[in-house]
């Protein structure tokens, strides 16, 4: 057993762990972050995806001890002030969740994609989320939700620059 300290969604958390514990179990069982889903356990479904120091990784393939001293972000940590991030609102308006089991991972992955690439093409979206599955098959609705966030940003940006030009 050893003690590790991990910053999860901005909050430092300390727990005793065994060396053979997975980050997935640490988050779900020790910290009760239940948005991180356990499904295939072998890196195929991607539903245990989290951000580890800003990088999307599958937490069933990461040891908890590897996260010691590092930062983990899950879907609970993407919006400010307890509100919804734009992609979360878009998921709601497009019905991009059916059973909802995979939704936290998809929201996290598409949110990250839109942060690094504000206007992803369909090919960008397919590539970025190729490690995730949705067994309800809401891929079309997810694509629409991503397209809406992308389009909203495209409309806003020229307006802002116009406003600046008039100032």
């Amino acid at each position: 057993m050893r003690e590790i300290s991990v910053t999860v969604n901005g909050r430092a958390r300390k727990r005793m762990i065994k060396d053979n514990e997975l980050l997935l179990d640490f988050l779900r069982e020790k910290l009760e972050v239940r948005s991180v889903k356990a499904a295939c356990w072998r890196g195929e479904c991607g539903l245990c995806t989290v951000l580890l120091d800003g990088q999307l990784v599958k937490s069933c393939l990461v040891l908890a001890v590897e996260a010691d001293g590092r930062e983990v972000k899950t879907v609970e940590g993407i919006a400010d002030d307890g509100g919804l991030a734009p992609i979360q609102s878009a998921f709601v308006s497009h019905g991009a969740a059916q059973c909802g089991f995979c939704t936290p991972a998809w929201v996290l992955a598409t949110h990250e994609l839109l942060m690094s690439n504000p206007h992803p093409s369909d090919a960008d979206l397919v590539e970025a989320t190729s490690g995730l599955v949705c067994r309800c098959g809401t891929y079309n609705q997810i694509r629409e939700a991503v397209a809406e966030v992308s389009a909203t940003r495209a409309r806003r940006q020229p307006k802002e620059s116009l406003a600046r030009a008039h100032r």
Partner: protein, 289 residues
């Protein structure tokens, strides 16, 4: 919830995170057979869940600074440290420009999240017959740099892979890097067929270089037998140029001369057919470029 199933838990082990090569080698010397090296862990963690491996010690080399190096010295070629991830390799433009065959092979490995963790050396050392990096590395004439208690040595990738899950590496040795010679004026490409499976049923890596004296061609097939196979017959067929005629000849020779095995993924007869298809595909693409 781990449901108590062995497939969701890992066997007990002690975790080590050395930060220097000396420290990593000292741990390996101390624990030898009892230890397993971990790069990205995507292979090792999966194998441990299946209880195919139950090491008493896991030595994580991700923080070993000497192994994080990715060198591209002019005239010297590319040196890829064993802690360099597939994403790090793919992000730099150098792979796409000068080592296209490796770029094409790695860009289609698993998915971006796995590629952020997985390392080239880890992929190579698994020596699973269906993985894609070995044929590409052999086509590029890459060598493996090994360090151990008796010093350092270099082995060509073709000799390093001895068989399925069998590599030329002692219990106290570790791979520090993969070195790829610079190939001026080289032209290379990779093609595979997965049929929707997570593994390749057949793959081909081709490199053609226009040397001043003789034109060099390397054609390596993967996933059809226990180790990657270099076909001199196919190489001979395209040595004088990739033309519609030589492509047809090469595709027929690939199907005829490359030995294939029956296994859980495909029959040998189906693989023979796939060899013809992927050889045609990869060479036609190179012809039009």
């Amino acid at each position: 919830m781990s449901f108590g199933s062995p497939y969701t838990t890992l066997p007990d082990f002690e975790y080590h995170r050395p930060t220097s090569l000396d420290e990593a080698l000292a741990l390996l010397k101390q624990y030898g057979d009892e230890a397993k090296l971990m790069g990205g862990g995507v292979g090792l963690i999966a194998f441990m869940k299946e209880r195919l491996m139950s090491p008493a010690h896991v030595i994580d080399v991700k923080e070993v600074k000497e192994l994080k190096m990715l060198d591209n010295a002019p005239g010297k070629g590319l040196s890829i440290g064993s802690a360099v991830t597939l994403s790090e390799l793919l992000e730099g433009g150098v792979l796409k420009r000068d080592y296209t065959v490796l770029h094409e092979a790695l860009a289609r490995v698993a998915d971006p999240m796995i590629r952020r963790r997985a390392t080239l050396v880890g992929n190579l050392c698994e020596a699973i017959p269906w993985v894609d990096s070995p044929p590409a590395l052999i086509a590029l004439d890459a060598t493996v740099a090994v360090a151990g208690p008796d010093g350092r040595r270099k082995v060509p990738v073709s000799g390093f892979i001895r068989g399925p899950v069998d590599i030329d590496l002692g219990p106290s040795e570790m791979v520090t890097a993969v070195d790829i010679p610079q190939a001026k004026g080289a032209h290379s490409a990779f093609e595979k067929f997965t049929g929707g499976s997570e593994f390749s049923l057949a793959s081909v890596a081709v490199m053609v270089s226009n040397g001043e004296k003789n034109r060099l061609a390397r054609v390596v097939y993967g996933s059809v037998n226990s180790t990657p196979f270099r076909s001199v017959e196919v190489e001979e067929a395209i040595r004088d140029g990739i033309t519609p005629g030589s492509v047809r000849k090469a595709a027929d020779l690939a199907s005829e001369k490359v030995e294939c095995v029956d296994d859980v993924l495909a029959t040998a007869a189906y693989r023979k057919h796939l060899l013809k298809v992927i050889t045609t595909k990869v060479l036609r693409r190179m012809m039009s470029q």
